[in-house]
Amino acid sequence: MRFDPNALEDDTDAPTLPPVRAPARPFLWGTAGASALGAVFAAVSTRDFISHLDRQQHSIHCSLMPGGGASLGESGCRTVLMSPYSSVLRTELWGGVPISLLAFAVFAYLVYRSAATALEPRVTRRDAGYLWLATGLPAAMSVIYGLISTQALGAVCQVCLGIYISSTLAFVLAGLAFRGSEPTGGHASPWPMWGRWFAEGVVTVVALVGLYVAFAPKGAKDGQGCGVLAQTADPGHVLVPSPYSRGTSAVMVLDPLCPACRGFDKRLDASGLGARMDMKYVLFPLDASCNWMLTDSLHPGACAVSEAMLCDPNKAQQVLEWAFAHQEELLEGARKGDGPLRAELKMKFPHVQGCLGTNKVKAQLRKSLKWGVANAIPVLTPQLFVGERRMCDEDTDLGLEYTLTTMLNQVEGKR
């Protein structure tokens, strides 16, 4: 089956179609059904996204059964939703405009277009051809997002999978409808009508996005931060260099074995906003073997990794990247004691030999923890201070780009 829009203008000279042809109308209704299914999946995903705009934790639906599989825990759907690929305009709006909203608008439009075509007295090639082309958009986007999901994020989101399947189905059924459609007849160009229909689609998407932007929740403290640093000086030399070394001064309170820190680091990296910061790390391991503020270790082994980072702050990034890459196994291995982890650190990073475990580096780590005391920070990680102001915890995931951009602009504007 080959698609040629010019062939639609005049069918009188076209080769005669096969005499027995599958009727187009059932395929059009099928296309409408597939689009409606896609709209339901997109709506579920949009609803999940919007629910997070109150800056709290919520369950996320993650099932091929629309509306099923709601869970608060980690899932492919949570990974995808929290990723920078889940929305656009993230620096202009808290969380940005979810891609699923665009999908919702497109599928709703396709339901309309399929139904309108199916309700026409004649299903012509012009009408069915446009629909086939239109269904190609979500199908192509599904391929792109499927690749991003598997290649860049390494996570599969069942609701997204539902959208991909619906898109593909709609595209295939629209193709079959085109194949079964009747010649248009006459010499009229299809482009004016296609232009009008395309404009309707654009209006549908723009209207939904406009409403979204207009009604998007606005926090009273957006970009204001949650607390300030009491002590900006670093007399104990506890600040450790990060890869970001140009721009506004910033401090990230970090535990190398904290999964949330790893996620935050990835999001910060993906945002590209690190390039605007001269960021330093303050090590704050949530491991009771060195952190007196805890009764139980949340991240056993974090003290040992932190010591290794402090042994040579200029090589701390190497240790951190290794710890992030092997976080689960390091945490698991250190549950029965950090001896093997210390041995592994010495083997992987020869420069920590003669330093790791010594009173000197332990005292330095204590100073790092006391930096937290001097600044009365909450006992949690990660935390980001931009200039002197602390980014609110609820702004560290979906709202990261918007909040960080706002805070950086404010600090840079004061200069």
């Binding site: 109150d54 309700l119 007196w292």
Partner: protein
């Protein structure tokens, strides 16, 4: 051929536009309401602080604050308290003063010295290091030095002062900044002499015989786990 009633396409389009629009607006308004009602994110999270152990009773904290203040530790200036000052600020008898340190038995090292001497020997240095290494979240390292009643009272006062300073110099040799965490209290032979019971505590010359005189030729060192 479709024979049903004809629905104008514009109606279908408006319905396809209105339905998602209404849903999205309802969801967004709900999220705004939730956001307005949301509590402070970190209000239930503990704030980073130094250790404040169970044994830090109000009485103990009051005494420590007075002693630390009189020693210039809280203000970060001045160092070394006179015995008379200690008596005044502690406002308690010798036995009660020593009893304050009872709960710190496991964290304390008693650094012993030779008679009429202020030299920190090898075992003394190790004991100081051992005590220093157990800081955890403690804010202040106290050195309470004494002398035995042998000899002149003023000489013994000077002797206890030098013993305290010897310990401090050893600790601060690598990092003078540490001085801000160390409180010195030298008592000479006048106040709060240790009883023989303290021979059973962790002391640097644990293998040597221990009398009341021996245990008072000493510097008592410990991190204090009280937020004062």
């Amino acid at each position: 051929m479709n024979t049903g009633p004809k629905i104008p396409p514009i109606v279908l389009w408006l319905v396809s536009l209105a339905l998602p629009a209404v849903l999205v607006i309802v969801w967004l308004r709900s999220a705004q309401a939730e956001l307005n009602a949301a509590p402070e994110s970190t209000q239930d999270v503990a704030v980073a602080s130094m250790t404040d152990d169970d044994y830090c009773t109000a009485d103990l904290k009051r005494v420590l604050r007075r002693v630390a203040g009189a020693c210039g530790l809280l203000a970060g200036a001045g160092r070394g308290c006179q015995p008379s000052d200690a008596k005044t600020v502690a406002q308690m008898n010798d036995a009660d003063f020593n009893a304050l340190f009872g709960p710190m038995k496991d964290r304390t090292q008693i650094i012993q010295f030779d008679a009429d001497d202020t030299t920190l020997d090898e075992v003394g240095r190790k004991a100081v290091e051992q005590a220093w290494a157990t800081q955890g979240g403690a804010s202040f390292f106290f050195v309470v030095s004494r002398a035995s009643p042998d000899g002149n009272k003023d000489h013994n006062l000077e002797l206890s002062k030098e013993r305290a300073e010897t310990v401090m110099k050893y600790i601060t040799a690598q990092d003078p900044e540490l001085e801000k965490q160390i409180g010195l209290l030298y008592l000479g032979e006048e106040y709060a002499q240790l009883s023989e019971e303290f021979c059973g505590w962790q002391r640097s010359r644990k293998d040597d015989e221990c009398t009341t005189k021996d245990i008072n030729r000493s510097a008592f060192v410990a991190w204090i786990d009280c937020a004062i």
